[in-house]
Amino acid sequence: MSSQTLLSIKNLVKHYRVGTVSFLGRRFGHKQKMVHSLDGVSFNVARDETLGVVGESGCGKTTLARTMLLLTPPTSGSITFEDKEITKLPKQELRKLRSRMQIVFQDPVSSLDPRMRVRDIVAEPLVGVGEKDRAQIREKVRAMLERVGLSQDALNRFPHQFSGGQRQRIGIARALVCEPQFLVLDEPTSALDASIQAQVLNLLRRLERDLRLSSVFISHNINVVCYMSDRIAVMYAGEIVEMGPTREILGKSSHPYTTTLFASVPKVDPSHRRADTEIIGEQPSPVNPPSGCRFHPRCPFVMEKCKSVRPEQTVVNSNHWAACHLLTK
């Protein structure tokens, strides 16, 4: 592994149970349904890099965010952070590591405790690392709020007194207050209006540059992901189907899903109305994913092989790969 790699994920799998089959039910042999939320996801994140993850709802991208930071334990697979395997770390050590890898959540309303003041919310990760010096905490919180563009009188106020964009700034301040190296952004602007989204995106870009952050930017909004990311990974039904530099994928996507996904994005230009490349059907249920290539029921180029054999990652171009049988034909 090169020293350029900050975080490396190998074969990450996350399955979880759905429905509450009671203790007795389990005894009597009720089958528990399993959601295949992540099925063998692997990638590296280099230092100073922003990796974008894009996919439709239910493709597992939020599970990826939570599993990557071990907010929920993976079913299997490994996560290496700064050359250290972290999935098996004892709880105490993991807690110490948390200040170095942080997350910004999608919902600016429910991600802030309604009964806490902004200064306590933002100070939370400092409390987490055991910072006791109150003056020190106050100073760091103040500096960070200024950095995200909030005035000092925000300190003593409560989350509901802020607009959506400001709340997201509070969430960003909380994530950055203990100077992490790595940041996961889980749909950070999806709940915001266009004009506010632009403010937050520009703020994030500036902070990533100034603080030399590595990040994973997750969103269903393809325009936003592409704008923010150096490389992107396209997820479908719990798997990454294609991954590579943003521009290269935009120019020459290799997986049929990527192609249709990008073609579905409205162009914000009435003179270029979308060609009628319409993708049929909907994403499969993660409880019962299709055999072989998970995209095969919707794929316009489906072959016999796709129905039974899971396609391997195939290199298209240096660090651009896709998982599709068309490439190995």
Partner: protein, 331 residues
Amino acid sequence: MSEPLLSIENVRLEFNTEQGTVHALRGVDLSVGKNEVVGLVGESGCGKTVLGLAVLGLNPMPPARLLDGSQILFQGRNLAELTPHELALVRGTGISMIFQEPATSLNPVFTIGDQISESIRLRIQRQRNEDKSTPSSSEIDEQVYEALRLVRIADPERIARRYPHELSGGMKQRAMIAMAMAAKPSLLIADEPTTALDVTIQAQILRLMRDLMNEVKTSILFITHDLGVIAEIADRVAVMYAGHIVEEAPVGQLFAEPLHPYTQGLLASLPRLSDLDREIKQLPGSVPDAINPPSGCSFHPRCEFAREECRTESPKLKELKVGHKVACYLY
């Protein structure tokens, strides 16, 4: 332009809350012509949904109330003055509406077929002056299947027997559209119909709506916050900000040559796949508070061109070019 189908004139609407009076609509003028798709675009809280609901009298009143002088002219009548019962008779067959969340907008305890057949029966009931015969239930069923086929549902017999929770989001939205179209309205108000859907499904629904327009000749008032969607579907666009229409133009012109600083700012704030190198621009500040809107032009606190008169007086919508109106003192 020929006589518009729907003509909204000087509509003002307020509602009272604990915190004070919300000035949701502050004198809106907008018209929808026959066989036209009018896009109404704006950010959350600008009043676009309230306007859509106001046309059908669906804002809960109280607390909402239309102020005197508000006119919503449709088929020669002012909807703002109708009694609740008269208004109910216009809904469905005259103007119908579909909503953002197909999951909560369909009644969970009735089958899709039941809910569509209600619209069909309603239409037949209201047409009965001409035709005295009552259709049998098998005829109604056939029409339900027809309505489902119209929205490209391949196996209508099966889907009609399903309950909403048994369908996916995209299918639910198709069923909603089928239900609205089954009454054969002259105008369909679509309030963010694709916002809750994934982008591939959104593309399917947008294409469906465009096809339906051509097949059954319904006008659409399409409400959304998404300029991309507007670019895909609308013929004409109205941009709303803080309870006002600030700009209105044919779709091509609006995107090529936006006049209002707000429209310009909005367009510049969107990241685009076609132009990733461009740094997106941001509008400063946030959406104004509808309880205490700014004086004068509501946009002036965020506007880089704001002048003295912008702070005191509210600009009127002026037609600068044919079909291109803007409310701004720059022009």
